[in-house]
């Protein structure tokens, strides 16, 4: 399996929408 590591996740708002079984990425999420 591939693994998406934390380096590649940096600065994105990573959204775990468990209710709807979706994962979201929002650019410039830390600002």
């Amino acid at each position: 399996i591939g693994i998406l590591g934390n380096t590649q996740q940096k600065t994105f708002a990573v959204v775990y929408d468990v209710a709807n079984q979706k994962i979201g990425f929002g650019a410039k999420g830390c600002t």
């Binding site: 693994i3 934390n6 996740q9 940096k10 600065t11 708002a13 468990v18």
Partner: protein, 412 residues
């Protein structure tokens, strides 16, 4: 490109390395948001170990331990892993369960426990479920940053009895005298925590309280935890913080990891997604129910799709993990990415490999560098163009490496 992202990053070489001074601002935008900082950066509340933070090579070497343990769990090997006899003797009454290696690239959040509240700095981990801190009385605890959590000083503390669903739902638990639920977690790097399963109030942010939070009260702990006071598990099982908090905050959470170890991000339970978020399907697998999977379907470099057979990425699937530092790809995919990236980087001098990173460059003498963008394309067409900090892992100006690695082959 559909994302509208630029195809290149142009970056000042002087900004490649993080500051030695913490530049974190107040992070919480709502009452349940926690500030996230890198465990080994200047914003970390954990005191540096003797000799300072681990080297980049050490961090990356340890990262492979974490990846190996993810693969081990995914394969669902029926054979019990070899346990260090010295460790096994500590948990002799409990079935050892091999969990994830902790890695050293983990991020830290601060939470409050008990009434009155005491604050603790804990690793946050989307790859495991049970949260825990070290507690008094302690049979064998490692040295941590803060005083141990003392249940006797909390008016809201309660033990979890053996018949409780949270106890029965653990991978490794036994019933001890007084109807106490004992848990054990043995991580993939042989780090270990044993203790009582308990309930108490968890305080997130300045004052937001989650009553009756179930967690482990470790009293026999050892391994590679550094000075962290414990761990908060954000996996998919019912005992995870995110599952326990779902009734109050909604079934979801979000975080942002900062671009540098000298700045801060956040971890937030519930709450609205940012308006610019693009969503892809979350995939569940019964053999590894704690993990969050998604479908990576393509990779772009400088806006051009890298030639990778679809099945190479699609068939094995992809786990998203907060505790793995470097993204791992099937070997065919990694080789194609590396070839494409190197083709755009021919103007720069190559540098020696850094641990598992084999595509490195020496930027000495340059004022700015121009780096091709790397975008990950997920099912549904969601294209995530990585931040510059997600493309290169910079150990020093003379050694900046493509921050991806191979899984070794396409099937392992």
């Amino acid at each position: 490109e559909s994302s509208g992202a630029p195809d290149w990053h142009v970056v000042s070489v002087g900004s490649l390395l993080p500051s030695s001074i913490c530049a974190a601002a107040t992070a919480a935008s709502n009452s349940s948001a926690l500030s996230v900082v890198h465990r080994h950066g200047p914003c970390s509340p954990l005191l540096a170990r003797v000799g300072g933070a681990p080297s980049h090579a050490e961090i990356l070497d340890r990262d492979q331990d974490r990846v190996d343990s993810i693969h081990h769990r995914h394969r669902g090997s029926g054979a019990a892993p070899a346990i260090n006899p010295a460790r096994a003797s500590k948990g002799v009454s409990l079935p050892a369960h091999r969990g994830l290696s902790l890695g050293t690239g983990n991020y830290i959040v601060s939470v409050g426990l008990g009434t009155p509240r005491k604050d603790f700095s804990v690793v946050f981990d989307t790859g495991s479920d049970l949260s825990w801190v070290q507690c008094k009385p302690c049979k064998d605890c490692y040295e941590q940053q803060d005083p141990l959590f003392d249940p006797a000083q909390s008016s809201t503390y309660a033990a979890v009895p053996c018949g409780d669903p949270h106890c029965r739902g653990l991978d490794s638990s036994t019933c001890a005298s007084g109807n106490r639920c004992r848990y054990e977690v043995v991580y993939g790097d042989q780090s270990q925590t044993d203790g009582n399963l308990v309930r108490d109030t968890l305080v997130l942010g300045p004052s937001d309280a989650l009553q009756g939070f179930v967690f482990g009260c470790g009293d026999d702990d050892s391994g590679l935890f550094g000075k962290a006071d414990g761990l908060v598990g954000l996996g998919r099982a019912k005992v995870s913080l995110t599952s326990q908090a779902a009734a109050k905050y909604g079934a979801g959470f979000s975080y942002c990891l900062p671009s540098s170890s000298s700045s801060a991000g956040y971890l937030s339970l519930g709450g609205a997604a940012p308006s610019n978020a693009q969503f892809t399907a979350m995939v569940a697998r019964s053999d590894t129910p704690s993990f969050y999977y998604l479908d990576l379907v393509a990779i772009k470099v400088a806006g051009r799709t890298v030639s990778i057979p679809a099945a190479v990425l699609k068939a094995p699937g992809t786990v998203i993990d907060s505790g793995t530092v470097i993204t791992r790809l099937p070997d065919t995919a990694y080789r194609a990415l590396r070839s494409s990236f190197a083709g755009f980087m021919r103007r720069y001098k190559r540098a020696p490999a850094l641990s598992l990173l084999d595509t490195c460059y020496d930027f000495t003498g340059h004022r700015t560098v121009q780096i091709p963008s790397v975008a990950l394309v997920f099912s549904g067409g969601v294209t995530v163009s990585l931040d510059f900090s997600g493309v290169l892992y910079v150990s020093k100006v003379s050694q900046a490496c493509l921050a991806f690695a191979s899984n070794g082959d396409d099937t392992s």
